[in-house]
Amino acid sequence: MVNTVNEKNMEMKRDRQKKIREKLMFGLFTLCMLAVVIPTLLIIGFIVVKGIGTVNWSFLTEMPRMGMKEGGIFPAIVGTLYLVLGTIIFSLPLGVGAAIYLTEYAKQGRLTRLIRIAVLNLAGVPSVVYGLFGLGLFVFFMGFGSSILAGSLTLACLILPIIITTSEEAIKSVPDSYREASLALGASKWETIARVVLPLAIPGIMTGGILGIGRAAGETAPILLTVAAFFIPRLPGSVFDQVMALPYHLYIVSTQVPGMPESIKYGTALVLLGVVGVFFAFATIIRLKFKQMSHLD
């Protein structure tokens, strides 16, 4: 009798220890998570708080003055927008086309496997290596010089794997029954892709595209070697011109110019973070909407 009670007590004690250990471990995991989330929020909060006082209409729309120590960052904003536009023009058709090939046309085989390996490897190539590549191929070999064209092409190569992977996912998620229905009605393979598959894959493709541009807008190393100018107080006249760009500008004002006022640095950082944040928000909203839609189906 006493024995069993004792055993029961022991068991309860063990159970309690188990519970406590579990609580401790889960607490530790929560701490890990917080160690990631809190710095992220602090980073955003810090830059917003420190930069918000600087960012006003004239900061966004004026040329830099006095060796960039006064005035605005208009040319850097415009430069980044041009680069982003150029990047998307080159990378979207290429990336979506490649995704169509991989999902709809490619047969299982060595070539397809090679392409997939290439896409995976491209995603891991360091951005500064893309810069070297752009410098060698677009700036010098093709003779575009340090220009918007060369920079956009380089960034397009950089985000190509993102676009291909997300477009592929989006195209694969279109049910085969729609393809069958279209083909059975006497639509050709291409008509089926263009009229049925792609329209349904657009939300996914857009999400990938926007995430890609967000990445392109924030990259510094590739444009450092292929397009970015230290200081040009005017807007570009053609695609063969150099431009200033936000990420490079932030690098310059925070490391290359002594005596740069803090306000300009934080203002530039906030604008850059804002641009990236807007792209990120768009992509997230589209993705969530799309998820809801597919739940309804």
Binding site: K107, Q108, S177, A181, S182, A184, G186, A187, V196, L200
Partner: protein
């Protein structure tokens, strides 16, 4: 197998073998499909009836690793010829699938999809085609006021009739139906069956069905498939009342899986 060669045969199949990789899914099929009749293909699941249906408009082309041997002629034209235009063939031989699969577009756009791909651009022509096809599929009265609403808002039975209308819009010669009522409730099933009986006046219909009662109710001809072989075929009432093959009898009397 002695098949009565009918002058009215619209599709003729001779010695058809089909393989998925190494697996032979259809073995030496010989048959013909008669014009303006409803032909039912019956048999237990996995017997090859759907696969056979899909050889008739070459939908099996979409599956990699499928090879076919033998002859399939449509109106005297070999359809597995190198220079045959599959796209044109599928305009002549329409198909309705097991699960209703209207495009996530408007009702109007669903019906107009095929004609548009064939180059009909004129709005008036399209309107006429859409109306005629929906009437033919007995759906017009129900949807005429909401042609521009999404097809996904329709009930399952309506969606399936829309898919039929969509196929009819192309004015095909033959309509292939792959278990078109298996996903529907009894009332919706009835309406589709009625529709099929009306349609055979203008169209040749080949229907795969898992329901023997359905085959008995609506078809003129029945073919019984088992493990990739065409066991027996003939007039529907004969197949159901006086089958020659023991296996057919076992199946139609329900003694079979």
């Amino acid at each position: 197998m002695s098949v009565v060669q009918n002058m009215e045969a619209i599709i003729e199949v001779k010695n058809l073998d089909l393989y998925y990789g190494d697996f032979q899914a259809l073995k030496k099929i010989d048959t013909s499909i008669e014009k303006n009749k409803v032909s039912a293909l019956i048999g237990p699941s996995g017997c090859g009836k759907s696969t056979f249906l899909r050889t008739l408009n070459r939908m099996n082309d979409l599956i990699s690793g499928v090879t076919t041997k033998g002859e399939v002629t449509f109106e005297g034209r070999e359809i597995y010829d190198q220079d045959l235009d599959v796209v044109a063939l599928r305009r002549k031989i329409g198909m309705v699938f097991q699960k209703p699969n209207p495009f996530p577009k408007s009702i109007y756009e669903n019906v107009a999809y095929g004609p548009r791909r064939s180059g009909v651009k004129n709005k008036k022509d399209l309107d006429q085609i859409v109306e005629e096809s929906l009437k033919e599929a007995a759906l017009w009265e129900e949807v005429k006021d909401r042609l521009n609403k999404s097809a996904l808002g329709l009930s399952g039975g309506q969606q399936q009739r829309l898919c039929i209308a969509r196929a009819l819009a192309m004015k095909p010669q033959v309509l292939l139906m792959d278990e078109p009522t298996s996903a529907l409730d009894p009332i919706a099933t009835n309406r589709i069956e009625d529709l099929i009986t009306q349609l055979k006046e203008h169209y040749t219909i080949v229907i795969v069905t898992h329901s023997m009662h359905q085959a008995a109710r609506i078809s003129d001809k029945t073919a019984f498939f088992l493990m990739g072989e065409l066991i027996e075929q003939g007039d529907t009432d004969k197949i159901f009342t006086t089958p020659r093959d023991q296996r057919t009898e076992d199946y139609v009397t329900g003694r079979f899986g």
